[in-house]
């Protein structure tokens, strides 16, 4: 009778990377459905194309590198869905596929794959596409056929916005960002499942709210529009590109909130969430370093 000998502990959680990523996909489902309701079935097509492309590029890149395939951990699928959420529904499909290539190969694969990339793949791909395909990336589709501007643009030009419309998502914007309500349902699910902590989203949205109030803007309208909810809940909580300590997450949220407000109110662009998150991604190693935990009973050397 031969026995297996190993160092303790001899039990582990049933949780795994794949379970976490599956939970993120479940949490994204309400927003995907909202996108389909608001923008029609082409939204689903864009999601399907970017997801398939991301999984394919991850698989292909790992094949080329002769490294074990990691597509079964579902992280590539999450990036795919997130990328689609950040695109206008009318995006040409080949451009969406190009975005997937940037996300999976340039941002993730070349830096060592899951857990090693320093920038959020979906955010970075969105920014690259925004600069490369400015026209199609801002070709908003307006579900009500009356509006001619996104809520952020409307607020910037002094018009008022309807909060209920912002909550439900029946307005122009990227296909996954319009319904704040659907995104908040996903947020609640992620919190209940313990996938993310509240720190970053609450500090991020809270900072935008407070700064908008201080600067005399429509604070409720600001936090409900643009990519803020999507970014704060799903992008600024990406594990490998944000701090892993709670205080680090607080700083990340506040920093991203401040940058978003700066860009929205004083920048050339109407929206600044993705730039804010990318900038904070770059600061993350320092945020982690500054917020190292204090060992219990530790004495300074």
């Amino acid at each position: 009778m031969s026995q297996i000998v190993a160092a303790s502990p001899h039990v582990t959680t049933k949780n795994s990377t794949a379970v976490i990523m599956r939970d993120v996909l479940i949490a994204l489902a309400p927003a995907v459905i909202a996108g389909c309701v608001v923008f029609g079935l082409r939204a689903l097509l864009v999601v399907a194309v970017t997801t398939a492309a991301c999984v394919f590029f991850e698989w292909g890149f790992e094949k080329l590198c002769h490294t074990p395939s990691s597509i079964s951990d579902l992280s590539a699928a999450v990036t795919g869905v997130l990328l689609a959420m950040n695109l206008p529904v009318s995006i040409p499909l080949w451009q969406a596929v190009f975005g997937a290539l940037v996300a999976m190969v340039a941002v993730k694969g070349l830096f060592g794959g899951i857990g090693k990339n320093f920038a959020n793949p979906a955010i970075t791909a969105r920014i690259v596409m925004f600069l490369a395909f400015s026209k199609t990336m801002t070709a908003w589709v307006f579900p009500d056929a009356v509006s001619t501007a996104t809520p952020l643009a409307m607020m910037a030009s002094g018009e008022s916005v309807d909060y209920l419309t912002l909550l439900l998502g029946n307005h122009g914007g990227c296909l996954g960002e319009t319904s704040a309500l659907a995104l908040l349902i996903g947020f609640a699910y992620l919190l209940i499942r313990g996938v993310i902590s509240w720190h970053t989203p609450v500090c991020f949205v809270g900072t935008v709210f407070v700064m908008s109030l201080i600067l005399g803007q429509d604070a409720v309208g600001q936090i409900l529009s643009g990519g803020l909810m999507l970014g704060a809940i799903f992008m600024a909580t990406d594990y490998s590109t944000t701090p892993s300590t709670n205080w680090g997450r607080v700083l990340f949220g506040i920093g991203a909130g401040l940058l978003t407000v700066l860009i929205r109110f004083y920048g050339a662009y109407a929206e600044g969430v993705s730039f804010a998150i990318l900038f904070m991604n770059i600061l993350t190693p320092y945020l982690s370093k500054w917020t190292e935990t204090k060992p219990f009973g530790g004495v300074a050397a």
């Binding site: 000998v5 160092a7 303790s8 001899h10 959680t13 949780n15 976490i20 701090p243 935990t293 219990f296």
Partner: protein, 455 residues
């Protein structure tokens, strides 16, 4: 502000909690190691062919931090040999062939207790070691320079490891001895405060002890949240007294002494009867075990004999542990004997014994969020892999108590605490090397000086 330290919630599996210990039939022979405690091994004082009786001394302490060892059955000494212990070191053993009588040694009589020294001598003679698992000789814990140092004795009834219920049974079945032991501490060590720390998943124990302490002076019961590692010494001290044991210091430095509930009841039993620790209540459980139960067995009984006497296995055991699944030690074979500090033996089938493959760290930070001592296991793993000893020291890997919360909670199933153990050894070796180098330099300087002087 007092707050709770982090930890994990792990399935309890305490199905044996309602079962009092069953006395198993004696095995044909027992094999008693001379090293069942932290410190110097005991030295055998018997030779092959000697007839010994239960409770008779067979190994005398090998130093101050050591413990005497007694025969757990009556019979003939068959062999004085060596065996590979579960810690990977060879240990000397005394094998006794049982005559089946379990005849008690005539020399056993209750110790004379008049002074504090009498009491400490009795604890030393009882051979008791920390029965919670660490196996530190109890008398060393209780020997203090100055009695004022002990502000609070905490009786550890947390029993936070899954499966194990032997402490629960000791608290219920030997509550008389537990309280008697506490009275001895009050009488001889003038302990001003005794706190029973019991997890709230044992309401029966909490209720019973609330009732018992209501008739006592300066004893109290503290109901603690059921979480792992509630019974860890530093965690328990913090939750009971609010004091942090600083790095490099002992619990006594913050006025606390932690004693396991079975240890205190064994002290009382020895003082009452003079019979040293020769039988042990052990939980036998695990997915491969046919009849999970608590058993009373002689120290030195082989695991295979214990499992067999409880009815054997329902599937082939693939992993057998001393202690619980969080900190228990996996044994290479079932010849390993029950030790003084064995509180459970668990056997698991294939499914539980095969750990999941580790995947890449996704930096989720769960290991940080769940570390009771606020360490950063994922950072330590990176530093260890890079061989960055300075960073390991900065991250205080030496404080890690090896509870295993990080490895348990890691969704990537990375061997974090296992890496910490290696890193701790590396840091220790590095510090020792530095010290040796400094000493060598000092000696060289000294020699040069002398040479100079000789000129």
């Amino acid at each position: 502000m007092k707050r709770y330290l982090h930890g994990i919630h792990v399935a309890g599996h305490k199905s044996t909690a309602q079962m009092s210990a069953v006395k198993l039939p004696l095995p044909d022979s027992v094999v008693i190691p001379m090293a069942m405690h932290i410190g110097a091994p005991a030295k055998p004082v018997v030779k092959v062919g000697d007839y010994v009786k239960t409770g008779q001394l067979i190994g005398e302490p090998g130093g101050f931090v050591s413990a005497p060892i007694y025969a757990s059955v009556s019979g003939t000494v068959k062999k004085i040999g060596e065996m590979l212990g579960s810690n990977g070191r060879m240990m000397q053993t005394v094998e006794i062939e049982s005559d089946g009588l379990d005849a008690r040694w005539e020399g056993i009589q209750p110790p004379k207790l008049e002074t504090m020294q009498d009491f400490l001598d009795a604890v030393r003679a009882s051979g008791l070691v920390g029965l919670g698992g660490a196996g530190f000789p109890t008398v060393v814990k209780l020997t203090v320079k100055n009695l004022d140092q002990i502000k609070c004795v905490i009786i550890n009834g947390a029993e936070c490891e899954p499966y194990i219920t032997s402490d629960t049974r000791a608290m219920i079945d030997y509550s008389f001895d537990v309280i008697a032991g506490c009275r001895l501490l009050q009488k001889f060590l003038k302990v001003p405060r005794i706190v029973f720390g019991i997890e709230d998943n044992k309401p029966e124990c909490i209720e019973r002890y609330r009732e018992l302490v209501s008739h006592e002076q300066n004893m109290e019961v503290m109901s603690l949240k059921a979480m792992y590692p509630q019974g860890g010494e530093k965690v328990l001290i913090y939750h009971v007294t609010g004091e942090k044991v600083p790095e490099g210091k002992l619990p006594l430095d913050v006025g606390a002494v932690v004693l396991n509930c079975t240890t205190i009841s064994s002290i009382a039993r020895y003082c009452r009867t003079g019979l040293p620790l020769v039988k042990k209540c052990v939980t036998v459980d695990g997915s491969a075990v046919k009849n999970p139960m608590n058993v009373l067995v002689p120290i030195g009984m082989r695991m295979k004999d214990v499992f067999e006497a409880t009815g054997g296995f329902k599937e082939e055991p693939k992993m057998v542990l001393y202690g619980g699944p969080m900190m228990g030690i996996a044994v290479p074979d079932l010849e390993q004997p029950i030790l003084k500090n064995t509180n459970a033996i668990l056997a698991f089938g294939e499914a539980e014994a095969t750990p999941p493959e580790p995947t890449a760290c996704i930096k989720c930070g769960k290991c940080i969020a769940h570390c009771p001592l606020s360490l950063m296991p994922c950072e330590m793993e990176t530093a260890y892999k890079k061989g960055n000893i300075e960073r390991l020291m900065h991250l205080k890997v030496n404080l890690c108590m090896e509870c295993g919360c990080c490895s348990f909670i890691c969704p990537a199933h990375r061997p974090l605490v296992q890496t910490n153990k290696l890193a701790k050894a590396q840091v220790m070796a590095y510090k020792n090397a530095l010290k040796a180098k400094a000493e060598a330099e000092k000696a060289k300087l000294e020699a040069e000086k002398q040479k100079e002087a000789a000129k």
